[in-house]
Amino acid sequence: MEGRPADDSELIARAQRGDSAAYEEIVQRYQQIAFRTAYVITGSAADAEDAAQEGFVKAYRALDRFRLGADLRPWLLRIVANEARNRVRSSGRRHQLELRLTEGFRPGDAAPSPEAVAIAADERRRLLAMVNALSEEDRLVIASRYFLQLNGEETAAALGIPEGTVKSRLSRALARLRARVEEAASA
């Protein structure tokens, strides 16, 4: 169909035949999620950019090993996330990931009162501060699953752990976060 964006398998097949324009389209399509995933792992925008860049180069070289019909996104994220972890390991230092909220963000289409907006913004800030204060393992799994909106397979790929471990780790991380929220509410 004319004007229809090519789907992943079509782009992959073309890239495997040496069509670099097709691969560039794949990079454009996934660069944001790849960069953000690397940012969650490294805590540094510069390192995340390097990791994403190098990850896409490695993925291109490994295209022949990509199984047609498989999901491209988790495959790419696994390579980029590995690159990000390697960078953290080789530098011997992980930057503290400090997630922030966009100023003036207001979810939904409704127009709540200024007081309600202020209270909701304050609640979100407090909750995010609690997420930032969690252990690295807990923070990573929550950021991947909820803030990056990765599915189970993608979270497993990004964290380099089995999918079953994602479920148990997420469950424990949520329990610890919930306990902190309740503790703050009762204080």
Binding site: S20, V27, Y39, A46, V57, R93, F147, R178
Partner: protein, 258 residues
């Protein structure tokens, strides 16, 4: 109160992520193989061809045999060897240093309008070929400005990026204890004096530099060229001069800052 998981999911659109850079990976991939048999056959032919070429090149390089070959082939001309001119590596399109993660490209005037402190420019290098500015949250508080220079006399430019010198400036204080730990074994630190200010000459291949920014936060930065670096405090601004240069070359650049 909404469920915790719902709250976290709703927050995903409110997270302030650093801007996604435009990635342009340099693509090179070996030609696709159609099975081992064909690959082995191709390899055998390639080895045979390489051997023949080597023999021919050796014979042609030796003047008497070159003349003899010309005689056998009844070529009454002289075989001349024209040296191949090396092809320069293609440089990436876009502003110089675009792939070094230095922030957003701008101009000198543009950078001056975005920070509240004085940006000094080394007159010995002329006008910078590119200027980048990195502001919080990705940059240190007060911002960071990098002047990028292409090839300069006696200073090697890196083939991949075409960059020879980076001059990076940010408000803050050096912290020897921190950045000495980050240097690694392949770099040495030598305290030095630059224009009357305390500084350090780092020789080798340092990769990370840590300093205290204007708000007192510890800020870690990547030394993009991973080569000799002069770092000094210039009236509250930390200046880094990176490049494949000697200490005296770096000091000369530093002394021309104004």
């Amino acid at each position: 109160m909404p469920d915790l998981e719902e709250q976290l999911t709703a927050m995903s659109v409110a997270i302030e992520w650093p801007p996604t850079p435009a990635l342009r990976p340099v693509l090179s991939r070996p030609a696709r193989r159609e099975g081992w048999g064909l690959w082995r056959l191709q390899t055998r032919w390639a080895l045979a061809a390489a051997a023949v070429l080597l023999i021919v090149a050796t014979l042609l390089a030796y003047t008497p045999s070159r003349d003899a070959i010309a005689g056998w082939l009844n070529l009454h001309t002289t075989i001349l060897r024209t040296p191949n001119q090396p092809t320069p590596s293609p440089l990436p399109s876009g502003p110089l240093g675009e792939r070094l993660g230095l922030g957003s490209p701008t101009t000198l005037d543009g950078a001056r309008s975005q920070v509240r402190w004085k940006i000094e420019v080394p007159s010995s290098l002329g006008r910078p070929d590119a200027v980048y500015v990195k502001l919080p949250p990705t940059g240190p508080s007060g911002g960071e400005v990098t002047l990028v220079y292409a090839q300069r006399p006696d200073i090697h430019a890196y083939g991949v990026t075409g960059v020879s010198i980076l001059v990076t400036e940010a408000r803050g204080k050096t912290n020897e204890i921190y950045f000495q730990k980050m240097l690694g074994q392949d770099a040495t630190l030598e305290p030095t004096t630059v224009n009357g200010h305390a500084g350090y000459w780092i020789a080798g291949s340092p990769h990370q530099f840590v300093f205290t920014d204007a708000d007192g936060n510890i800020y870690s930065d990547t030394l993009r060229l991973a080569t000799n670096t002069l770092i000094f405090d210039n009236n509250g601004t930390i200046v880094r001069i990176e490049g494949d240069m000697t200490k005296s070359q770096a000091l000369e650049i530093a002394s021309s800052l104004s």
